[in-house]
């Protein structure tokens, strides 16, 4: 047995050997295709994942997060911790050391000043920086010496790895962006489309919303990488055509976000030219229960606000019954195939952070019916719909226009109808639903419905800021112009207190423990959030492309330096 394992190990080493000894630029061109085209290469001026993915091949942060959710140094020598002295004992500062001899792709040296400048760039109030949260709580960034960066926080920060960590927060070259601060940021078209970086590639051509061409960066710190001499990202079309270009015609090597129906996935995989890869992050498709009354009979200012509790859904037994009636495995099978799995958690990962809550997976129609009976909702007039005190158990269920979501709506309506609940469905244009326009009645924040469905995720493996959305203070209301992330209007003093404790806790095991409790408080304990499907990002790569390590915690293009052609 040991012998066999050793032989297998040796074979694996031999298989990897060509990659290890490859020289820079010997593998020709790597071609990527995105269903949405790249608009801009500056991650600080865009919220689009497509743009940040492309930028991650050129711009680099001090550290990235690997597929296991572990921090890996990039431009820094090592990850600073309290143990190695990089993080101060009182957690108010973190000191990064740059790798010696780092150069930008134009040959000039990378210094701590570039990091200081990047911080100034993103925190300028007139700049509209989309990654401003990465620099939340940062009091100052200083260049202690040309290769040492000290980030000081205004209060102790248990998770100091936000600024300059992950593809969302890379370092910009000061010399290139010096005249692009604040209101001038959008006018620097050349810098925004062809930023100078430290990554394995440099931009050589950019056509807006179409193609990015890149060449290998001769000044990349590892002389053997990248294996590809050039790279192209072609955008546009849809998920289906991107997947086809990799899986069926073989024109491209890598396609991002190829979320297509499960039957098409199987048909394309059968062509044998490529494979689908999936990474599970924290994206969860969920039902949000409205704890306030969305009735149009209420005056504006009270409708869907905490002043008017929901007449039906305020009862936890009704919410639980609605959850029990759903068969999540069928939803996955119909909508996502390999790209999804049933879940009962708002925080489905990374492993240490996810609660072991699985009680909702099995459908329990009988139990659901019993709960509604117990809650006093019975079908007294025999029309198939339950009622109580002369009021029908009737629900308005809304989501965005999207074929999978409409399938989900139809299935869930069937289950709820079987339960004796009258369901009215509504589908809203995603631009309106997520648009946040306070004048529109159809935004997800305004929530003029009883139940709504969409997906959301945590932007970092550590869910502290993600869990903050269920605080009482984040409830959207007319006073806040309907802004706020607490869509359900859930409010619990215990939750707020426990979250405050999380922001002060530094011990990882304790943090994970608190996060699990917070997760359970909004899901199984209160059924305010009813998670349905843990969605992965499905991408496709050609069989001839090696080194792909899909990553849910950082950009999928995080390791393009290691990609190579299998010969």
């Amino acid at each position: 047995m040991n012998m066999k394992a050793a032989l297998l190990g040796a074979a694996a080493v031999l298989g990897l050997a060509p990659a290890a000894f490859a020289e820079r630029g010997t593998d020709g061109e790597v071609k990527l295709t995105f269903p949405q085209a790249v608009s801009i290469m500056n991650p600080y001026l865009t919220g689009g994942t497509k743009d940040i993915l492309a930028a991650a091949m050129v711009l680099e942060p001090l550290a990235v997060v690997d597929p296991n959710g572990v921090l890996v140094p990039r431009l820094a020598i090592e990850i600073p911790t309290v143990e190695n002295g990089g993080v101060s004992a009182d957690l108010t500062s973190i000191t990064w050391k740059l790798v010696p001899g780092l150069k930008w792709s134009d040959g000039s040296p990378v210094t701590a000043d570039d990091a200081v400048f990047t911080w100034q760039y993103c925190t300028d109030p007139a700049g509209g920086c989309s990654q401003a949260t990465k620099y939340d709580g940062v009091a100052s960034v200083e260049a202690v010496d040309p290769s040492t960066i000290k980030v000081t926080f205004s209060a102790p920060k248990p998770n100091p790895y936000t600024a300059f960590v992950s593809g969302l927060s890379p370092i910009l070259q000061k010399a290139q962006f010096a005249n692009c601060l604040g209101a001038a940021a959008p006018t620097c078209t050349d810098a925004n489309t062809m930023p100078i970086g430290t990554g394995p590639f440099k931009v050589t051509g950019f056509t807006v919303n179409d193609t990015v061409t890149m060449a290998m960066n001769e000044n990349y710190r590892d002389p053997a990488k990248p294996a590809f001499a050039s790279a192209v990202i072609k955008g546009g079309g849809d998920a289906e055509s991107s997947a086809r270009a990799v899986m069926e015609t073989g024109e491209f090597d890598y396609a991002w976000n190829t979320q297509i129906p499960p039957d098409s996935q199987a048909a394309m995989a059968a062509a044998g030219k490529g494979q689908f890869v999936v990474a599970f992050g924290t994206l969860v498709e969920r039902l949000e229960m409205n704890m306030t009354d969305p009735s149009p009979d209420l005056p504006e200012g009270e409708r869907s606000t905490v002043k008017a509790p929901h007449p039906i859904l305020s009862d936890i037994r009704v919410r639980t019954a609605l959850s029990k009636a759903i068969d999540r495995s069928i939803l996955v099978e119909v909508g996502y195939g390999a790209g999804g799995k049933p879940t009962c958690n708002v925080i489905p990962g990374p492993e240490g952070w996810a609660s072991d809550n699985e009680g909702c997976i099995a459908q329990d129609m009988a139990g659901a019916k019993a709960l509604l009976d117990e809650a006093g909702w019975t079908d007294s007039d025999g029309d198939g719909i339950r009622d109580k005190d002369g009021k029908k158990l009737s629900i308005l269920f809304q989501t965005t226009v999207n074929p999978i979501r409409q399938d989900f709506q139809a299935l869930i309506k069937d289950w709820w109808t079987e339960l004796g609940v009258e369901v009215e469905l509504k589908a809203i244009d995603p631009g309106v639903f997520f648009g946040g326009d306070p004048g529109s009645p159809d935004t997800f924040q305004k929530f003029y419905a009883d139940v709504e469905m969409y997906a959301n995720n945590s932007e970092s493996p550590d869910p502290e800021s993600y869990l903050a959305q269920y605080l009482c203070s984040k409830i959207p209301s007319p006073e806040t112009q309907w802004q706020g992330e607490n869509i359900n209007r859930f409010c619990s003093a215990d939750y707020d207190a426990l979250h405050a404790e999380l922001t002060k806790t530094t011990d990882l095991a304790k943090r994970q423990d608190i996060a699990k409790k917070l997760n359970d408080m909004v899901t199984k304990d209160s059924m305010v959030v009813v998670p349905l499907v843990h969605r992965g990002t499905l991408s496709a790569h050609a069989n001839s492309l090696g080194g792909v390590q899909i990553n849910a915690w950082d950009m999928e293009t995080w390791n393009t330096a290691d990609w190579f052609r299998i010969k």
């Binding site: 295709t33 085209a37 608009s39 801009i40 001026l45 865009t46 919220g47 689009g48 994942t49 109030p125 007139a126 700049g127 509209g128 920086c129 989309s130 401003a132 949260t133 209101a183 940021a185 959008p186 006018t187 078209t189 925004n192 489309t193 056509t207 807006v208 919303n209 179409d210 193609t211 061409t213 192209v232 072609k234 546009g236 079309g237 055509s241 086809r244 270009a245 069926e248 015609t249 024109e251 491209f252 244009d429 995603p430 631009g431 309106v432 639903f433 997520f434 648009g435 946040g436 326009d437 529109s440 159809d442 959301n456 995720n457 945590s458 932007e459 993600y466 802004q483 706020g484 992330e485």
Partner: protein, 335 residues
């Protein structure tokens, strides 16, 4: 003729101003926000700042007047600067796309050549197919050729391009492997090999659009020919003993082309407008693909500018069609 043209051009100015205001209001009042596509992980305060940085929080009339100034003064001035090296538009804010923060006119400049090559070729191919079909169908009305031509036109009319395009992809790219499915916009035609590559990648979009164009034009050609075939001058020409060839191709065809030329001229703005579906399907980075992308992302400056340019082109080509009509048909005179 000159006074007529001048009068029409002057009339076009208020028309276009009203059109620009209507487009602006429609685009602006349409629901949605430029921030609707960004992930939910970006908090509301940051969103608000991003919207403010775009200038999207200004009142609608301020933005309209700013756009008018940018469109009619800053953009022509910066074009002039580009040609003559002057500095008229220095420090002026050009029309910037919200999506990409690049000047809208540079994006149009990048994309127009692709649209003109692909859609223009499809239009020419469509005309070249349509005219002979129309002529012969009318000459041999109700023959099997006419029936086949009618069937062809029927298919071209009724099958939408998203269907025929996908069918072509499956047939010619996936099964036969003849053509690429994605248009390579970086390809430069330098030698025969790259020309061949360009021809191969243009084949499917041109076929898809050419079919639809040919269908419409062949029907116009046919009905116009039929109308003229029964005229007295045709009988006279035949009575004079002219050959069928001369009668059909010289007398009838020339007279029948008058309305067809007008139809063709009126269709030209749609070449500039691109073909939204076809461009998107084959990844041709033309104007149509830019428009649909901008609409999806609520990129108001881009949508507004493109829609207005289309309006200008339509007004312009209507005028050109009218003038052409007068030139071709001696019976029509504008005074």
């Amino acid at each position: 003729m000159l006074t007529f043209t001048l009068r029409r051009l002057l009339l076009a100015v208020p028309t276009l101003l009203v059109i620009s205001l209507v487009i602006f209001l429609v685009v602006d009042l349409a629901p949605g926000s430029p921030m609707s596509e960004i992930p939910l992980t970006i908090p509301p305060e940051v969103r608000r700042k991003m919207i403010a940085a775009l200038g999207a929080d200004q009142p609608v009339f301020v933005r309209y007047l700013l756009w008018l100034r940018q469109f009619f003064w800053v953009e022509p001035a910066s074009l002039f600067d580009g040609w003559f090296g002057t500095a008229l538009a220095d420090g002026e804010q050009r029309i910037l796309s919200w999506q990409s923060r690049s000047p809208v006119f540079s994006i149009i400049g990048q994309r127009l050549p692709q649209t003109l090559t692909v859609i223009g070729t499809a239009y020419i191919v469509g005309i070249l197919i349509a005219l002979p079909i129309g002529i012969y169908s009318a000459y041999r009305q109700y023959s099997w050729f006419d029936q086949a031509g009618t069937l062809f036109a029927m298919i071209g009319f009724s099958v939408p391009t998203f269907f025929s395009g996908t069918l072509f992809i499956l047939l010619f790219a996936v099964w036969l492997g003849w053509f690429p499915t994605k248009y390579d916009t970086q390809l430069e035609v330098r030698d025969w090999a790259s020309f061949w590559q360009q021809a191969r990648q243009m084949a499917m979009p041109v076929m898809t659009l050419g079919l639809a164009n040919a269908a419409a034009i062949s029907r116009y050609m046919r009905s116009s020919m039929l109308e003229n075939m029964g005229m007295d001058y045709v009988r006279t020409a035949r009575a004079k003993g002219m050959s069928e060839r001369t009668v059909v191709l010289k007398h009838v065809l020339r007279n029948s082309l008058i309305p067809v030329v007008t139809v063709i001229a009126l269709g030209i703005p749609s070449i500039f407008g691109g073909a939204i579906v076809t461009e998107n399907l084959f990844g041709v980075n033309g104007i149509g693909a830019a428009l649909i992308g901008a609409i999806q992302a609520n990129d108001i400056p881009m949508v507004q500018t493109l829609a207005f340019i289309f309006a200008v082109l339509i007004v312009l080509f209507n005028l050109i069609a009218d003038i052409l009509y007068g030139l071709l048909d001696p019976r029509i005179r504008y005074e």
